[in-house]
Amino acid sequence: MDFPALGLTLRLASVTTLVLLVVATPLAAWISSGRGWGRRVMQAVVALPLVLPPSVLGFYLLLGLSPRTAIGRMLIAVVGHSLAFTFWGLVVGSVIFSLPFAVQPLVAGFSGVDRGLVETASVLGAGWWVVFARVIAPLARMSFVTAAVLTFAHTVGEFGVVLMVGGDIPGVTRTLSISIFDQVQEANYAGANRAAIWLVLLSFMALLAVYARGRGQGLGVRD
């Protein structure tokens, strides 16, 4: 069993989930707070990873992080190296790749809060932030759980982006899904099976957590 790969996978999924909750919450709050072209364009951009092949996303990320681009040069100046083929490069790739899995449940949750409550709160003097913190977020709390679990589970199962951005460096960027691929290539089916069972278990536990918290509402985002 490739335990370093399992550890790396869990660490990557945890960090990605935390980063994405921080990034996706304001983004989802903005998207759900009105209409207009800006919001539609943002929704389409956020949903892109759902339809793009992971290799395309990974390819552009690899190009974007290279020393030929301004971002790549800035990263080298700040952290001393490009993020490609490092753990933090994987985090960047995973955050972008899992963005819709965090943003979409939150948008659905925030939009599902009764407009009457939001309006009443604002007439009673609550500004945008207070309405969000005291009315929308608590009423949409299940959608945070859904977003976190889906992001975690999706990151655990990532393959294409991780392979493109991270390569396959044991202990550094070789996650469990890549480890399975490697073992199958080496005809080590027993090893691949042991790793695959871990992925099945992790995914099942994540989904069970959502269904258990949702009291039978499944992936529904309303509380």
Partner: protein, 241 residues
């Protein structure tokens, strides 16, 4: 003596199939907007709150001798106490927290917090909610929810106008009659004018020093309750005859 208006309102809007075109000045401490269902009463209140999209609204408040254009302010900055028609209680907050929603937003120091608590306490007592303060909205009856809705509007700090949409729907008459004098003295103490909405002739007579009668989005009469509603009574009798 002619009273000086505390608020002036002009609304031109299409609300569904209704063409609303209203110009009003509110001078009485308590004005009742009276009219049948679908006459646009609630839409007028929503226009004052800034919640009527697409409407042309001019809404002014008299501050000393100056008129402030309230319609230019964001909804949260309009200094309104508001009890919507549907109680719209926050389902995740208990009765006390619902009532104190507006006071809990900017606690500035211990003294201010204590003052806010005292106001909430007073509102709980006024609306006979003391025994219910730990209950959640789902555990309340319709009448109880409506009392929480009213109490929540009464504690908005620095409110300049109270907007009550069908304030006594679901509240039994005995309770309404017991609450009303206390509500009036609370409001008089704060010098806080009220605009309420009703379709109930009795309620309008009971409450209104001034009644605005609304029909199909137009003001058809405005004046003292006895006068405006006397015409209404005559018309009802004529219809019966």
């Amino acid at each position: 003596m002619e009273l000086v208006p505390h608020h002036r309102l002009q609304v031109v809007a299409d609300v569904g199939a209704l063409r609303m075109d209203v110009a009003l000045a509110f001078a009485a401490p308590w004005t009742v907007i009276f009219g049948p269902s679908g006459s646009g009463k609630s839409s007028l209140l929503r226009a004052m709150c800034g919640l009527l999209p697409g409407a042309q609204v001019s809404f002014e408040r008299r501050d000393a001798d100056e008129w402030t254009a309230v319609e230019e302010l964001r909804t949260a900055q309009r200094k309104l106490g508001y009890a919507p028609q549907q109680a719209a209680l926050f389902p995740h907050l208990n009765v006390r927290k619902n009532v104190g929603f507006a006071t809990a937003q900017r606690p500035k120091g211990r003294a201010a917090w204590k003052r806010a608590e005292a106001v909430v306490e007073g509102a709980l007592e006024l609306f006979a909610l003391g025994d219910l303060e730990d209950r959640m909205p789902r555990e309340l009856s319709g009448g109880e929810s409506q009392r929480v809705n009213l109490a929540r509007a009464f504690v908005v700090p620095g409110a300049r106008l109270m907007l009550l949409d069908e304030p006594f729907s679901g509240v039994d008459r005995k309770q309404r009659d017991a609450m009303l004098p206390k509500m009036k003295s609370w409001l008089a103490e704060l010098d806080l004018p009220v605009i309420s909405v009703t379709h109930d002739v009795d309620e309008a007579l009971l409450l209104g020093a001034e009644v605005v009668r609304l029909e199909l989005g137009q003001v058809v009469a405005q004046g003292p309750a006895a006068e405006v509603l006397a015409e209404e009574r005559v018309r009802m009798l004529a219809n019966l005859g």
